[in-house]
């Protein structure tokens, strides 16, 4: 081999890939990871469906008789969907990468650092969308119908769920980035209980009194739940707009936390 050909071959092939290409590559990997763990997929769906069946079975008649709710299944379906949307595992996948060294392996490439997080969030969007679609089909099969146009209702509910779900996934991603601890990241699931159950999850807000009513009214997720129901029980633009705003505020807050944790993680030294 001549000196000139050695010099030619010595030239690196690496070139700037661009942020969009980086995000696409990381998203592809996140989606593959989700599809290869169907057991997580089932787990994320079984619990919401179980709660849904128990609630509707136990309280369906009572709700119809004393609260005037004609379909308690339609009343509960948004809760099951939001429940599933909060069961994503993006932070878990990320914290495993950090713990086993794959994050370092990706970090020595010229990838845009933010693409590592944004791609993971897009993977979570895919998971939330899949869970929601399965539960919408489940609802449709058992007779739950949207109030207005089915397509508008389905798209509206999906949009709202994605906004909430990605905001929720951002919490566990923030904890993963900030702590690098598998246990801490898995524990973020706990914050989901007050957020989703200190809401009108079992009965409408006008039936509540005392401290519970106060706490529920202060919880932004309350408005997300009410907006989600509005697509099924009767479209109320104001309620939907208020819910979308609440989901947006929630997600903005959690994205902010993720951005802070991300800066901490990539800060040199």
């Amino acid at each position: 081999m001549t000196a000139a050909s050695v010099a030619d071959e010595a030239r690196t092939l690496a070139a700037p890939a661009g942020w969009v290409a980086d995000v696409a590559a990381i998203t592809g990997r996140a989606v593959r990871g989700i599809l290869r763990e169907p057991e997580l997929f089932l787990f994320a769906l079984i619990i919401p469906v179980f709660f849904f069946v128990v609630q509707v079975g136990a309280l369906g008649d009572l709700a119809r008789r004393s609260m005037g709710i004609s379909s308690y299944a339609a009343f509960q379906l948004p809760i099951a969907i939001l429940f599933a949307a909060a069961s994503t595992s993006g932070g878990n996948a990320l914290v495993l990468d950090i713990a086993n060294g794959y994050w370092d392996k990706l970090s020595v490439t010229p990838v845009h650092r933010s693409a590592l997080v944004v791609g993971t969030l897009f993977g979570e969007l895919f998971a939330v969308l899949s869970y929601s679609l399965v539960l919408l089909v489940f609802g449709w099969v058992i007779g739950v119908r949207f109030a207005g146009n089915e397509v508008v209702g389905a798209l509206g509910l999906l949009g709202l769920t994605l906004l909430f779900g990605v905001g929720f996934a951002a919490v566990s991603i923030a904890v993963a980035l900030a702590t690098g601890s598998v246990r801490a990241t898995q524990s973020t699931f706990i914050i989901f209980f007050p957020l989703l159950f200190l809401t009108p999850s079992a009965l409408p807000r006008d039936q509540m009194t005392g401290w519970f009513d106060t706490v529920v009214s202060l919880n932004p997720i309350t408005y997300v739940v009410e907006a989600a129901r509005s697509f099924l029980s009767g479209i109320d633009v104001l309620v939907i707009a208020r819910g979308a705003l609440a989901a947006l505020l929630f997600s903005t807050l959690t994205f902010g936390l993720t951005a802070l944790a991300f800066r901490r993680r990539v800060r040199m030294g």
């Binding site: 081999m1 050695v6 010099a7 071959e9 010595a10 030239r11 690196t12 092939l13 690496a14 070139a15 700037p16 890939a17 661009g18 290409a21 980086d22 590559a25 990381i26 592809g28 990997r29 593959r32 990871g33 290869r36 763990e37 990468d97 950090i98 713990a99 086993n100 060294g101 794959y102 994050w103 370092d104 392996k105 990706l106 970090s107 020595v108 490439t109 010229p110 990838v111 650092r113 690098g180 993680r265 990539v266 800060r267 040199m268 030294g269």
Partner: protein
């Protein structure tokens, strides 16, 4: 020839623990540079700084003229890195991992497919490429990690303990590949190792690091020549040990054998003297004349472990044990904290 890697007085502390205490080095283009030291000597921390994963708390590092702290993106394009803990996503197949890695280096289409084929052929993984990584053995993971570091034809390759924990066959395979890389692509290779024979086999230049400082640097031959003696091993029957010792010491005091350290080995003696091949004959004649029955006699050049001993006053194995016990008191290195 210009410098591919330069470090000037690199320092890194984890809290109060100084892992790297002023490392300066220069690696020429096309060279295989062996960074040899026991566990906990500061090898990996130095590599993490030079590969942009960790900011130095003092000093500076350059790769092909680019500052590793200020010009990180350029450095990342020029280097390939196989870290000590081969962190590979077990859920992906080998091909998926390599393809993703290639995309992040901006490789596309036929160039990407071509490179994936080339590097997997090079490391001998072509048959396992479409299997999930979770089914790979330790050696296969290392080879995949090496392949992924080569995809974009890096001009400088950092290999952090590429063969630690591998069986001899896998180790020999990786050694062959490392030599091939230099021959085919003229790549500069920065190799950390705790194996003396690995540094000896592969490296053009060796730096020996202990407790965060480089204690010796040079070609393996020059370093060993610095020890200034050859090693003569003589096997002696247990009952004749005392007599053999007296005979050897008498030869030394009588001027037949040059002065040099004599150490008992349990099965005989090791004698450190210059001009081993000439003096082995003197030793054999002397022992024979004294009527001592001896077994196998051999002469060898000093090893890098002898160099380590001369530089630090201890053997590498002992230094590794000391580092392991210190480790319990240390602040752990923050895994995964990286540079933007």
């Amino acid at each position: 020839m210009s410098a591919a890697i330069q470090a000037h007085d690199l320092v890194h502390s984890f809290g109060e623990v100084e892992a790297v205490r002023g490392v300066s080095l220069k690696v020429q283009e096309g060279e295989i540079y062996g960074f040899l030291g026991p566990n906990g000597a500061g090898k990996s921390t130095t590599v993490r700084i030079l590969t942009t994963l960790l900011a130095p708390t003092g000093g500076s590092g350059m790769v092909l003229g680019h500052d590793v702290a200020a010009d990180r993106t350029t450095v990342r394009r020029l280097i390939g890195v196989a870290l000590q803990e081969a962190g590979l996503d077990p859920k992906q197949t080998g091909r998926e991992l390599l393809t993703l890695q290639g995309r992040l280096y901006g490789l596309r289409g036929s160039v990407l497919t071509g490179q994936v084929a080339e590097v997997t052929e090079l490391v001998g993984l072509a048959d396992a490429l479409d299997r999930r990584i979770q089914t790979y053995s330790g050696g296969m993971k290392r080879r995949l990690d090496l392949a992924s570091a080569l995809l974009h034809r890096p001009r400088v390759l950092f290999l952090d303990e590429p063969t630690t924990g591998l069986d001899p066959l896998s180790r020999a395979l990786i050694w062959d590949r490392i030599r091939e890389l230099r021959e085919r692509f003229g790549a500069t290779i920065f190799l950390t190792t705790q194996y003396l024979e690995e540094a000896d086999e592969l490296a053009d230049q060796v730096a020996i690091i202990d407790q965060g400082r480089i204690v010796r640097e040079g070609t393996p031959a020059a370093l060993k020549a610095e020890v200034g003696a050859d090693v003569i091993d003589v096997g002696v029957d247990e009952r004749e040990c005392g007599a053999a010792r007296v005979a050897i010491l008498e030869m030394q005091s009588g001027g037949e054998l040059p002065a040099g350290e004599l150490r008992g080995t349990g099965t005989g003696y090791t004698l450190f003297v210059p001009e081993g091949p000439r003096n082995i004959a003197v030793l054999i004649r002397g022992l024979d004349k004294a009527g001592i029955r001896f077994g196998a006699v051999s002469v060898s050049r000093p090893t890098l472990d002898d160099v380590f001993l001369a530089a630090t006053g201890g053997r590498m194995a002992a230094a590794a044990e000391r580092a392991d016990s210190d480790e319990q008191e240390r602040v752990p290195e923050p895994a995964g904290r990286s540079a933007p």
